[in-house]
Symmetry: C2
Subunit: 245 residues, 2 copies
């Protein structure tokens, strides 16, 4: 049985509302499809910069459309998205580097599953994309992690870990040209390994489905029907009745 | 019964392969859903320029991804997409202005339906996005139209009509600044009227669903499930069994 389970890696960043949609749908379907879902918290800023991609919201008409699109999708997917008052400040000025480092640290320490990674990610999305709250300050990360069920001492250790890694990277950054790029590479090492062999990456969410020894890459939160087809499962909409939520 | 039919306008350009997917799916569903589908052949170049949007394929990783994505979608949707050897030449250097003028002329003259518009559009897509053939020369447009069942004399008149309109526009273009913009506005007058009240336009395909006096705009060929939800119909995949093809 185990050998027939298809591995799906889901790369996401809590700065991205479309990632949230993809995340919730995949978390629901991990209980419905015969899949092994691997959460890959990652840093969208690095992917955008590395690929030379520009955020779609910079085109005014696209921004207007995306506002409508997100609102409709949030209702249909039943994910409580409510854009921050100043999305540009939240997404581009403040960003998600410290938040995603923190989630990566959670994953680094978690054993026996990814329930903490899932819940901390969700609480961070709740902050930035539902309640218009900060996700850059240690106190904000701490609050999200406590809500997700982590203890105060665990949170303290995780904050330290993500800062430590940052220091290591900062020290080594001169060896690799762009410090930013290197920090990204070092800290999210598994992401880097995967993306090095995936020249198609330019944004999140990104689902990588491993089927018959081949990696099929799907961008966005609108390819679930195709993903289902690709892995031989059935798409039942964003809220499958059979999901054990 | 007629009053309960929901009007869906589908804006498309044969230069866009994703438009082809959207077009075929909507043409299938017009026989399944209780809708009144209105085909809106239009000029993507004008929309891109007007909105300041850039073609997604200019980001190398996105181009790579789209090649894979289109291949998978073409198989799943059963639309015979096969990219031209040089997509940039076909899409950006040669473009679709004369082709879409021709389709608009077909629509201008057609009475009692849109079978000709549908078939000429499909034949043009077959040329550029399946057979790697030209769609800019009169002989190419003529060949596509004859394949679509139009007579030689009809084709001749349509070629004349689209050229005439061009002349009219050219003469008036100095009144409006950009001649290009004006040509687009003049010739595709219905498109302009619609888009003036739709500030969300930045690309094709664009489906505008008129529901309870409100226009709901959907971009891309990946919102059919949401469109179905929006108009109170059921999405049955890209090839609904009940479609009378």
């Amino acid at each position: 049985m185990a050998s027939s389970r298809k591995v799906i890696e889901l790369f996401y960043d809590v700065v991205s509302p479309y990632s949230w949609l993809g995340f919730e749908v995949m978390c629901r379907y991990r209980n419905v499809w015969n899949i092994d879902l691997k959460l890959r918290p990652a840093f969208l800023g690095g992917i955008m910069q590395g690929s030379g991609n520009k955020p779609p919201g910079l085109v005014p008409n696209k921004f207007l459309y995306m506002t409508t699109d997100l609102h409709r999708l949030a209702q249909y997917f039943q994910v409580p998205i409510s854009p921050p008052a100043d999305p540009f400040e939240a997404m581009f000025e403040k960003g998600s580097l410290s938040a995603m480092r923190f989630v990566a640290a959670v994953q680094e320490r978690e054993v026996g599953g990814d329930k903490q990674v899932e819940q901390v990610s969700r609480e961070l999305w709740m902050r930035i994309w539902s309640q218009d709250k900060d996700i850059t300050q240690p106190a904000s990360l701490s609050e999200a992690a406590m809500k997700a069920g982590l203890s105060a001492s665990e949170v303290e250790e995780l904050l330290k870990l993500s800062t430590q890694e940052m220091a290591v990277n900062d020290n080594s950054s001169h060896q690799c040209g762009s410090g930013h790029q290197y920090q990204y590479i070092h800290f999210f090492h598994y992401l880097t390994l995967s993306l090095y062999s995936l020249p198609q990456a330019f944004g999140f969410p990104l689902a990588v489905c491993h089927v018959n020894g081949k990696a099929e890459v799907f961008f966005g939160s609108d390819r679930f029907e195709l993903i289902a087809h690709c892995i031989g499962e059935k798409w039942m909409g964003p809220q499958p009745a059979a999901a054990k939520l």
